[in-house]
Amino acid sequence: MFQESKIIIKDFSFYYGSVQALKNINLNIQPKEIFTVFGPARSGKTTLLKSLNRLTDLIFGTSYTGAIFLDGMDIYDPKVGLTHLRRRVGMVFDLPTPLPMSIFDNIAYGPKLSGTNRRNRLDEIVEKALRSAVLWEEVKDRLHTSALRLSGGQQQRLCMARVLALEPEVLLLDEPCSGLDPISTASIEETLFQLKKDYSIILVPHNIQQASRVADRAGFFLNGELVEEGPVYQIFTKPKDKRTEDYVTGRFG
């Protein structure tokens, strides 16, 4: 079990300057599971996600202790290629962030960065990625129009497709459904079930209902601390910790 884990987070703490955002986190993520990280605002969820592909490096004045392993490799090892790591651990942000270019170019952006430039190869990648994100049917006739003209839900699925085009091993999803209507949310959740067959997914859910709908396991975060983790049914029906129970029953948050 220990060796099979896709990601092992070991005694990991993270600081912005002197502010501690994550406190001594220990957590294992399995292959082909959806793990949901939930908790109130400012509880360290986004920080956790961003430290898994080191997007936290972009922020000045941060530091960490502990270690994170991806398939047994310490991702904070100076020898780790950052671009390589980020291709293996893809991230979708809470707000849809299409780049100001065409739908096609958005999806092809990642593959092009690593030197895939052959037109028919890119065509294949783009179609496959859009199909996986359940967006192909809606945009196949206008691949070369601006991605900024898509609706919010379509933009978010575009961002998902953009990450999938890189065929990562782990997907980090930071509230991918915030600001989306229920129908878009449903199609994204449908996408997640499809993707679970191939990826480890770490999801910050839009709300607790979503977490219980899609996830296999869940971890409750509060003030940078992992209060409790376990199978979803247990966390949401029989939490061991009083704070988790208060949160899932809506007593605060």
């Binding site: 592909n53 000045f60 942000f93 962030t97 960065l113 601006s146 961002c159 953009r162 990450v163």
Partner: protein
């Protein structure tokens, strides 16, 4: 009651003052244009543009000064723009707010406040004499390049700053390197702003007189290389008017200068708007 009346009075006075300000700005602009074009337009025939000056500029056209102006401006832009844009990229993408970046910014601010004649003096001492380039297109162009740097840097920096941080984050998260992020996401978005800054610099280079006389000379001979001395249209205008050679030709040169700047601006605006439309 009284308070209300003074409030309305203040309001009225402010309105009048603001209108006077706006109208006089336009009036000054129109007066200058009218004066120059009224005196200068009659001189503008095709041969005025295509013939080189004769008898110190009393007769003939202004062809060699047009060539000189274009050559000088091209050198200034080709040297100044990459340096300036590079500095802006460095300041915004490759370094954090630090002692070095503050020093660079302070330096460019100082540079922006230096009068052009001082740039001319520097160019004369450094490029013309010290580096032995003589009065030449190269000396003048390099001097102008130094002069336009602050404008290019600050406009480029502003437009790079305006690119949302989320674009960069996306690019990095998809495995982009810093250089890829800069060239594929940051610069394409910042291009219209950068271009505007370069355009301002073109205008400044074309119009500059003091620094150019000191570094590129005032020769009316057609230039043959980057080391040839030249006379730009602005310098030509200045000499014609200042030495009383021919007011008629001076106004003609002035009118041609204004038309050039106008055409460049219109063309550039068209290019920018086309680019922006293409991207959205």
């Amino acid at each position: 009651m009284i308070i209300n009346r003074t409030r309305y009075l203040t309001q009225g006075i402010a309105k009048i003052l603001i209108w006077i300000g706006a109208l006089s700005t336009i009036a000054v602009m129109i007066l200058i244009l009218l004066q120059i074009l009224r005196e200068g337009l009659p001189v503008l025939h095709l041969h005025f543009f295509l013939e080189s000056p004769k008898e110190m500029g009393r007769e003939g056209g202004i062809f060699s000064t047009i060539v000189g102006t274009v050559a000088l401006t091209l050198v200034a832009i080709f040297v100044g723009a990459p340096l300036g844009v590079g500095t802006a990229i460095f300041l915004r993408e490759y370094t954090r707010e630090s002692k070095i970046s503050r020093m660079i910014r302070f330096g460019t601010d100082c540079l922006a406040g230096v009068p052009s004649i001082i740039f001319g003096l520097f160019g004369f001492v450094f490029f013309v004499i010290r580096l032995n380039m003589g009065w030449s297109i190269l000396s003048g162009g390099l001097t102008l390049a130094a002069m336009i740097l602050p404008t290019v840097i600050s406009t480029a920096e502003e437009s790079i700053k305006a690119i949302p941080h989320s674009y960069r984050e996306v690019s990095y998260s998809l495995g982009g390197t810093k250089w890829q992020t800069v060239t594929r996401v940051v610069l394409p978005g910042a291009l219209p702003g950068i271009f505007t800054g370069i355009l301002l610099s073109v205008g400044r280079s074309i119009g500059e007189t003091a620094a150019v006389i000191l570094t590129a000379g005032s020769s009316l001979v057609m230039p043959t290389s980057l080391f040839s001395p030249i006379r730009t249209m602005s310098v030509h205008f200045y000499i014609l008017a200042r030495e009383g050679i021919s007011m008629k030709m001076a106004y003609g040169t002035g009118a041609a200068l204004i038309l050039f700047v106008l055409i460049i601006n219109v063309m550039a605006q068209w290019l920018i708007s086309r680019y922006i439309r293409h991207r959205s």
